[in-house]
Structure formats: structure tokens, C-alpha cells
Amino acid sequence: MARPRVGDRIFSSLTLFFALLIVLILGGLLVVLNIDAWPAIQKFGIAFLTSIEWDPVREEFGALPAVYGTLLSSLIGLIIAVPISLASAIFLSELAPEWISRPVSFLIEMLAAIPSVIIGLWGLFVMVPFIRDPIEKWLGSNLGFLPFFQGPPFGVGFLSAGIILAIMIIPIITAISRDVMSAVPATQREAMLALGATHWEMITGAVLPYCRSGLVGAVILGLGRALGETMAVTMVIGNSYKLTLSLFSPGSTIASKVASEFSEASGDLYIGSLITLALVLFGITLVVNIIARLLVWRSVSVKGTGE
């Protein structure tokens, strides 16, 4: 073998350098956020996570309502999105002939491509009035005995945020679930059909169990997106800072709090508290995304991008 040429060595080191830049950015994010969050972490410590105060005048800050709002709105989003997405994916992967599934997949990808601020605009002016009356009025008068459906119907609030999130994560969960289901070998389906199963029994008996971990991964990936979604949620959640079981109540998520207050914040402690909020969100989405990646990778690796 001839010795490696100088040009090759320079070029491959150059590509390595740029590739490492990606790792560096990720590391930089963690380090820089920690440094800038430090004044708040130092002052409030772990109590930051359990305090419900948010008072810029007295410089008292706590994260609990924002963390609660983030989890609650994402949970509502998942409850609505998961059945619709999985059923859509089944339709696309198992039922529809190609001349239907191809354009429908295309349209679902278009839904994913619409910028979040436009979905927020639509949510604010079209969906929120509809949620207030009739949906919240109806829920309030018929299911008002449940703590979730009590209080005046504002329109803006956790329920609207959850529905908006559902609309935004349905295309993601659907697309990944469709890919995961399509990767199930045809022999699995044929074996089930040969036993005399109906089409639906084949899906629940052979396809879904075979790709369960991939589907869970798809849902968790959708969750990761919902937790960090900012613009659309900020526009429909109403930006109040409180802990309440009522889904009609306005609230905040971590992302909406940061988005709506960051550019007006002053002082190291106020900015530091907002950055600590961002750091909490970063931590949550990091864990969620890592779990999802591992699950999806394992189940699509048959045809996927890996080795």
C-alpha cells in the first residue's frame, strides 16, 4: 500500500473537524446555558423547581407552574394525537392502495411543514373561539362535575394548547409509525392471514406486536416535539402563571414563558431564572429524545440509516 496522500489526510481531517463541530455545539449549549443559569441556580437551588412564585419585582422565581403546564399540555396533546396518528398510520401502511396512500402521506408531510407561528395564528383566531363556545361550554355543562372541566370557559388555555400540540405532532407520529409498520416483514402478515385471521386481527395480532417498540419510540418522539413547541402554544395558552386542574384555565409552558418574557427581562437573576427554565426544558427533551431515538433506531434498523 502506498502511503496516504497529504491531500487525503488534510481533507479527511477537515471533514472530521466540521463533524466534531456538531458535537461541540451540543456541548456548548449545555455549558453556556449552565453558566448563564448559575445566578438563579445559586440563589434558589432545587427549590426553584417546587416554587410557584414568579415575581420579577421582588425577584422571586419558581418553575413549578411552567413545568406543570408543559407536561399537562403535552399530555393532552398525546391523548388526542396518539389514537389518530396510529390509526392513520395503519390506514397508510396496511389498508390504502398506493394511489391513495401516496398523496395522503404527501399531505400529512405538508401539515408537518407548516410553520408553527401560522398554526398559532390559526389557533388564536379560528380555533380558540370555537373551543370556547361550543366545546368548553358543552364540557362545562355536561362533564362539569370533573375538576378538569370547571371554571369559566376562556378559550385560551391548557385545552387549546393541547389540541394545537396534537395537530402539530400527529404528522410526526403518523409518518414514523407508518415507516415502522412498513418495516414489518410480509411473512408475519401472511402467517397470520393463513391462520384465518381477518385483516384487522392480522394488524393487532401480527403487525402491531412486532413493531411495538418502534411505535412507542414514535410516540415519544412526538412527545419530545410537543414539550419544546413554542410559538403556537404561546399564542393560545393565555400566559397566566398558576397551578390548576381546570383545563379551561389559561396557563404557561416553559417554552411560552421564555418566549414571552425573555426579551423584556432585565437583571441577572430574572434572565438567569428564564435560562434555568430553558435548561430544565433542555434536560427533559434530551432524555425524551434519547429514549425515542434508541427505540426507533432499533426497530427500523432493518431498512434504516444505520449499519
Binding site: D8, S12, L14, T15, L16, F17, F18, A19, L21, I22, V23, I25, L26, V32, L33, P83, I84, S88, F91, A96, V104, L107, E109, L111, A113, I114, P115, S116, V117, I118, I119, G120, L121, L124, F125, I167, T174, T198, H199, W200, L221, G224, L227, G228, E229, T230, M231, M235, A255, V258, F262, S263, L274, L281, L286, N289, I290, R293, T305, E307
Partner: protein, 281 residues
């Protein structure tokens, strides 16, 4: 008799569930139709030539448009592309051509995690490393934030398209005694150019609509585009501001801006998909 009834029940539950799945897909499409429909109807009715040729006017004065914000969006996408394209492409080349399996999966993992970082956090990062030290909101900091969002997308799509180039081409070129870096740039990258450009265009479409990372980096500007180290307006940012404003004039302009942005973003998506679909056939 019992068995027959069981079979009838099975057949009907089969049909019912299949119909439900079809309905779910229809609901998803209905959301798209509702959002697009309202955006187009409202957008078109408030859209006019002034909207793209005039600068903004103060509240209460009729007319005025978003010329400067449209310009601003193009500048921000430009800055982001100048930074993200070389980094993303080279990283993609490393992943597809030079990396060992361990290095590749580590960097791929980092890229996927970076893709999943909420864009608002990327905005906070750009604020911390650029806006704060420079003591000013700036087009540059917003461009960097968008570039960070763009890099992993470009890298991963470039990698995937490079992998699709058949090994025989690499071997043929190597057999001619050409050095690897020339093969990469002269044979393999050109062979994968459709896929690479597709990925870049989709990444551009995505960052053109990003709003969250701009709020406290670009900030928006009442004086139009002034320079890279000054605040700058952008179309999505203006949609956000105007939508939440109490003035109905501004809310109408938000719809018009949303219409323009949807045309831009979905236009890129549709063209790119049609072209790559043609190519496949």
C-alpha cells in the same frame, strides 16, 4: 351456530375498525385543509401589492406593508445558509465517506439530538453567546441560531444521499489512481447532488418559518434592514407580533404575511418533492 355468529361479529368488527382508521386519516387531512383554507382565504383578502412593496406604517395610518421584514427573512436565511452549508456538507461527507462505525454513530447521535433540541433553546444559546457580549440584538445572532437548527438536518440528508452512490463508482475512480478527496468532491458529491440539494431546500423551508429563536436575537426592527450587527425584522416574527397586537389592521397584515410565508414554505416543499419524485421514476 355460535361459531357462525362469532364469524359474523369478527367480520363486522373488522370492517368497523378499518373504517375508523380511514376516518382518522381523513381527520388529519381535514386539519391541514382547515389551516390552509383559513390562511389562504384571509390572506388573499388582505393581500395587496403595497404589502410587499411598502415599509410598515405606524398604527392608525392606512396601508403599509412588510417589505423590510420579507427582505429580513431572506437575509437571515442567507446568513444561516452561509454558515450551515459548509459545516453540514462536510460533516455529511465525513459520516458517509471517512468515519469508522463508532465515530459515525456517535456523531449521528449528536446530530439527531441537536435536531430535537427545541428551537427556543437554540435562541437562548445564541442570545448568550452573541447578543449579550455584543450588547445588541443583531441579524448575525439570529442567523447563527438558524444555522444551528439547519446544520444537523443538512448533515444527515447529505450523508444519506452520499450513501446511495454505488460503491462501484468509488472503486472505479480509485482504480484510476485518483486521490480520495478528489473522488469525493468530483465523483461522489456530484452523484448525490439531487439528494443533497433536496435536503438543503427542505432545511431552508424549515428555518424560513422559524420564529422562536428570532424573538430575542433578531428582535424586529422599525427602521428596516440596517446591517448585520443591528436588529432586523423577519416575516414570521412579524406574524407573531401583529397577531397578538390589539389592532385589527395589524391582525389583517398578520394573515397576509402568513399567506406569503405558507406559499414560500409549502412551495419549496412541493417543488422539491415533485422533482425528487420525478428523478426516482
Amino acid at each position: 351456530m355460535n361459531r357462525l355468529e362469532g364469524n359474523i361479529r369478527r367480520r363486522w368488527s373488522n370492517r368497523l375498525m378499518l373504517v375508523i382508521c380511514g376516518c382518522a386519516a381523513a381527520v388529519t387531512i381535514a386539519f391541514l385543509a382547515l389551516i390552509l383554507g383559513y390562511t389562504i382565504i384571509n390572506g388573499v383578502s388582505y393581500f395587496n401589492l403595497d404589502f410587499i412593496t411598502q415599509a410598515a406604517k405606524p398604527v392608525g395610518e392606512p396601508g403599509g406593508g412588510m417589505r423590510e421584514d420579507i427582505f429580513g427573512t431572506f437575509i437571515l436565511v442567507g446568513i444561516a445558509s452561509v454558515i450551515a452549508l459548509p459545516v453540514g456538507l462536510m460533516a455529511g461527507i465525513f459520516l458517509a465517506e471517512f468515519a469508522g462505525p463508532k465515530a459515525a454513530s456517535a456523531i449521528r447521535f449528536a446530530a439527531d439530538i441537536l435536531t430535537g433540541v427545541p428551537s427556543i433553546i437554540v435562541g437562548v444559546f445564541a442570545y448568550a453567546i452573541l447578543v449579550r457580549p455584543m450588547q445588541s440584538y443583531s441579524a448575525l445572532s439570529a442567523g447563527v441560531a438558524l444555522a444551528i437548527i439547519m446544520i444537523p438536518v443538512v448533515a444527515r440528508t447529505a450523508e444519506e444521499s452520499l450513501r446511495l452512490v454505488p460503491n462501484s463508482q468509488r472503486e472505479a475512480a480509485l482504480a484510476l489512481g485518483i486521490s480520495r478527496w478528489r473522488i469525493t468532491l468530483g465523483v461522489i458529491v456530484p452523484g448525490a447532488v439531487t439528494g443533497i440539494v433536496t435536503g438543503i431546500m427542505l432545511a431552508v423551508a424549515r428555518i424560513a418559518g422559524e420564529t422562536a429563536p428570532l424573538i430575542f436575537t433578531a428582535l424586529g426592527s422599525a427602521f428596516g434592514v440596517q446591517g448585520l450587527t443591528e436588529p432586523i425584522g423577519a416575516l414570521p416574527l412579524q406574524i407573531y407580533r401583529y397577531a397578538l397586537s390589539p389592532y385589527s389592521d395589524w391582525q389583517k397584515q398578520a394573515w397576509a404575511a402568513a399567506f406569503l410565508l405558507v406559499i414560500l414554505v409549502l412551495g419549496i416543499n412541493i417543488v422539491v418533492r415533485l422533482v425528487s419524485y420525478r428523478k426516482k421514476q
